[in-house]
């Protein structure tokens, strides 16, 4: 079942004296039920605008989106909002109220009881500070309170916009663990982020957004492969000659100190040995670089066409 469907979503903002800015440009995306879906993109790529369109916080210029089958633009979101937990950017909560009070006020119309509030506070490790005012919380604690608020409805679908924003390394690891466990519980977690290590370690599928367009989507392994991230490390006695041989064979490469970095997938490593051995060079090392979403991400987002607005 598809929990999030986005077709041709476009959002343009008209700004005073700055003309029109296209935040999202004809985005198509489908997120299947279950697991953790990473929504990647550099700052300004349109991630938050997409999330805002999904939650009916902004009206798209064109295109449609559906969330658990409901079209937010047609005012249908209220039918499913009880099954959707969300954080949009830094969670905005009442600074003068305690964390517990904030959760009580949010959950009251949906009849969320004190037990559920205790449970989510425990889950995000905020129970000890729950009665302190939110304005005394650190950014990381506010972020965890936001996650608690998103979990309060025991949602099927979680939409988390930059959930690890402002967290320290321990907090990031905690969020990662939380996201993984939520995904394992059968929920669908849609997490937008620009922290690639976080996404790579927690997500099953990803979509990469650049300049308002989806440049790649699919299972993480597939996206990594498509970005030709499987660079091979080649070490030989004569790197210069090796480079000439590789160039002659049409294999892209780049120098890296005494090594060569070759843009070929692991499965094509035999071609390197064949070409170099044919030129009388024998390898002292041939190893793959670790899978790296960051390089794929940078490659794909750099390749994306410039904004046309």
């Amino acid at each position: 079942m598809t929990v999030i469907e986005i077709e041709g979503l476009t959002k343009r903002y008209r700004r005073f004296r700055k003309g029109i800015t296209t935040a999202v440009d004809g985005l198509d995306l489908a997120v299947e039920e279950g697991g953790v879906f990473g929504f990647l993109g550099p700052n300004g790529a349109g991630k938050t605008t997409t999330v805002r369109c999904l939650l009916a916080l902004v009206r798209p210029t064109s295109g449609t989106c559906r969330i658990l089958g409901a079209n937010p633009q047609r005012g249908e979101l209220h039918r499913v909002i009880g099954r959707v937990g969300s954080i949009v950017e830094t969670p905005a909560l009442f600074p003068g109220f305690s964390g517990r009070r904030n959760l009580e006020l949010l959950g009251r119309p949906q009849r969320v009881g004190p037990k559920a509030i205790e449970a989510v506070l425990d889950r995000v490790d905020l129970a000890a500070r729950a009665d302190d005012r939110v304005k005394t919380y650190s950014l990381g604690m506010k972020q965890r309170l936001g996650i608690a608020a998103a979990l309060l409805k025991d949602p099927e679908l979680l939409i988390l916009d930059e959930p690890a924003n402002g967290l320290d390394p321990a907090g990031i690891r905690e969020v990662r663990r939380l996201l993984t466990s939520l995904g394992a519980e059968g929920r669908t977690v849609f997490v937008s982020s620009h922290i690639l290590s976080e996404v790579q370690q927690t997500c099953h599928r990803v979509a990469i957004l650049a300049r308002g367009k989806c440049v790649k989507s699919g299972p993480v392994a597939e996206v990594l492969a498509s970005g030709r991230a499987f660079r091979l490390v080649v070490r030989v006695d004569q790197p210069r000659l090796a480079g000439e041989l590789l160039t002659a064979a049409g294999i892209p490469w780049s120098p890296d100190d005494e090594r060569l970095l070759v843009d070929l997938a692991r499965a094509e490593a035999a071609r390197v040995t064949e070409v170099l051995a044919g030129g009388g060079l024998y390898l002292s090392e041939l190893s793959p670089l670790p899978d790296d979403l960051e390089s794929v991400f940078l490659k794909l987002t750099e390749e994306a066409p410039e904004e046309t607005a």
Binding site: L57, I81, S86, R108
Partner: protein, 276 residues
């Protein structure tokens, strides 16, 4: 109803509400204390003082302080003329007459309405400023419903705030009147009249709270909302009153003030007759 209850709870949890409430209660108690010390049941000395004042005025007149047109005619009685000219002096009641509560309620109605406007504007303005409205909308995406709940909560809060403050005022002035003034002649008609004024004061409070809330919803900021309200009520309406007096009956401020003054349903209670 759940949303309305939540919004009311949110309103009640706000520090500004408690701060304003406490400030108004303190101001009322301070006023009552001052009233207590300035009130007295000693009507005899007040009457004596007034009579002495009248006598001094007549003496001044008789010693040539006044010039009468027919003063030099034969048969002119200067003393009589001076008594007529000075007339009667009204002795002020030194004690608080509880029947004046109606005037006191009318007097506090405008400041209470302004406070309710502030309450309404800050309730929604703070939500936009702190962007907590975004979080709320992720729980209730139907904006019209959410805003309706907020407006209803603000109206109820403004109404309740005015009622409570009116009751606090009435309760704090009662001992002053009972111990240092008069609580006599308070019958059902007076009570109906006073209740009517209190009710209209509370309705005005609720209405101005909604106006504040509405401006803040458009301006999305408390300061901007209060500035707009000030510009309208203090500047624009003043300009209209000056240049287009005919439009005055249509002005919001004038109608608001008039709504608490007009007392069509119950007759005004006559004031105590002055002593002479």
């Amino acid at each position: 109803m759940g949303m309305l209850a939540t919004e009311l709870r949110r309103m009640w949890s706000r520090r500004l509400v408690k701060l304003l409430g406490a400030s108004v209660v303190l101001a009322i108690l301070a006023g009552a204390t001052i009233g207590f010390f300035n009130s007295s049941r000693d009507t005899a000395s007040a009457l004596q003082e007034t009579r002495a004042q009248r006598r001094r005025a007549i003496q001044e007149c008789e010693s040539g302080g006044f010039q009468f047109p027919r003063q030099n005619r034969r048969g002119f009685d200067l003393e009589k003329a001076c008594r007529r000219a000075v007339g009667t002096h009204q002795a002020p009641d030194p004690g608080l007459d509880y029947r004046q509560m109606q005037e006191v309620l009318l007097a506090i109605s405008p400041p209470l309405a302004i406070l309710c406007l502030l309450l309404g504007a800050s309730f929604v303005g703070a939500e936009w400023q702190k962007e907590t409205i975004t979080t709320t909308l992720t729980w209730e995406p139907r904006r019209a419903r959410l805003l309706a709940a907020k407006f209803a909560a603000v109206a109820l809060a403004g109404f309740a705030f005015s009622v409570v403050m009116g009751l606090v005022l009435a309760a704090s002035l009662w001992p002053v009147a009972a111990l240092r003034g008069s609580t006599s002649d308070l019958d059902a008609a007076w009570l109906r009249s006073a209740s009517g004024i209190g009710l209209r004061m509370a309705l005005l409070g609720g209405l101005t709270a909604v106006v504040g809330c509405a401006i803040a919803t458009v301006a999305r900021n408390t300061t901007a909302a209060l500035s707009v309200a000030f510009l309208y009520f203090a500047v624009l309406e003043g300009v209209i009153r000056g240049f287009r007096p005919g439009w005055q009956p249509g002005l919001l401020g004038d109608n608001a003030a008039q709504s608490s003054r007009v007392n069509r349903w119950v007759p005004q209670w006559p004031h105590r007759r002055p002593w002479t």
